[in-house]
């Protein structure tokens, strides 16, 4: 395999690995459940895309033909990641999971739980 391709593959692997690591790091570091939800659902999706692209290039160059499993994995990830993130946020909201004290728009959560329109006399609007 020629060195240029190896470098490209390595770049994608590093890029992907960095974002997967970042997603996990965010999970550890962010202060409450709702903010923690942000890191692993998105950064990890992008990181995995990087890893999958690297895998596609590698197997293509190695002469195994175009492997399209990776595209399917990406597609399924893109479909399932937002749904699971939404379900977790929704569940947390309805279970009144403790949130950071300085979270803005707290009055909205009560309306959201009842699935009503937001209260009109909001303090920040």
């Amino acid at each position: 395999m020629n060195p240029t391709v190896e470098i490209i593959i390595s770049c994608f692997l590093l890029f992907g690995g960095a974002f997967v690591l970042l997603g996990s790091f965010g999970l550890l570091r962010l202060p409450d459940f709702y903010t923690r939800l942000h890191a692993p659902t998105k950064a990890t999706t992008l990181g995995l895309a990087g890893l999958l692209i690297a895998s596609m290039i590698y197997f293509f160059v190695a002469g195994n033909g175009v492997i399209v499993h990776e595209l399917l994995i990406t597609l399924f990830l893109l479909i399932t990641a937002p749904v699971s993130a939404h379900m977790m946020a929704k569940t947390a909201l309805h279970h009144k999971v403790r949130m950071l004290k300085r979270t803005a728009g707290k009055p909205l959560t009560e309306a959201a739980r009842k699935r009503e329109a937001p209260p009109l006399n909001e303090d920040e609007r």
Binding site: T41, K42, V68, R102, A112, R115
Partner: protein, 167 residues
Amino acid sequence: MKLSSPTGWLPMPAQSLILFVVWLLLNNTLAPGHILLGAVLALTIPLLIAPTQAPQPRVVRHWAAVRYVGRVLWDILVANFEVAMRVLGPTRRLQPAFVAIPLDVEGALPITILASTISLTPGTVSAEVSEDRKWLYIHALHLEDEAALIAQIKSRYEAPIKEIFGC
């Protein structure tokens, strides 16, 4: 807004095609046996599940849909770097917030797509939709200007979705 109601021997042509292609991709083959099996599955599964489908608005502007997918993928890439900075930076400066977004799009499918887009683009997660489907509640990781966030979501994502479904 056009509604599709599944009828006939090919109730969901797009889904049939997707099923067929995904079957071949999963098996990574073009062997005649798999083409036949894939075709049978692609024809029978939609027939079985079509009665359970609620009528959904149809995509009327296909190119707009393709452009929308490209834009969202690009936004995912760009916005991820932004969130990366937030995660690595001091967490004390984070200002998380709940925001209610007034919805103009109608129908379960367009709202689902909008909510999924919001969840996929880093920095925001959709949490709940009001019973009358007029408000979408989202959680933002870091909010500086609520009006700007709402305006951005409405112009960047909701407007194209309205165009795609022609509603």
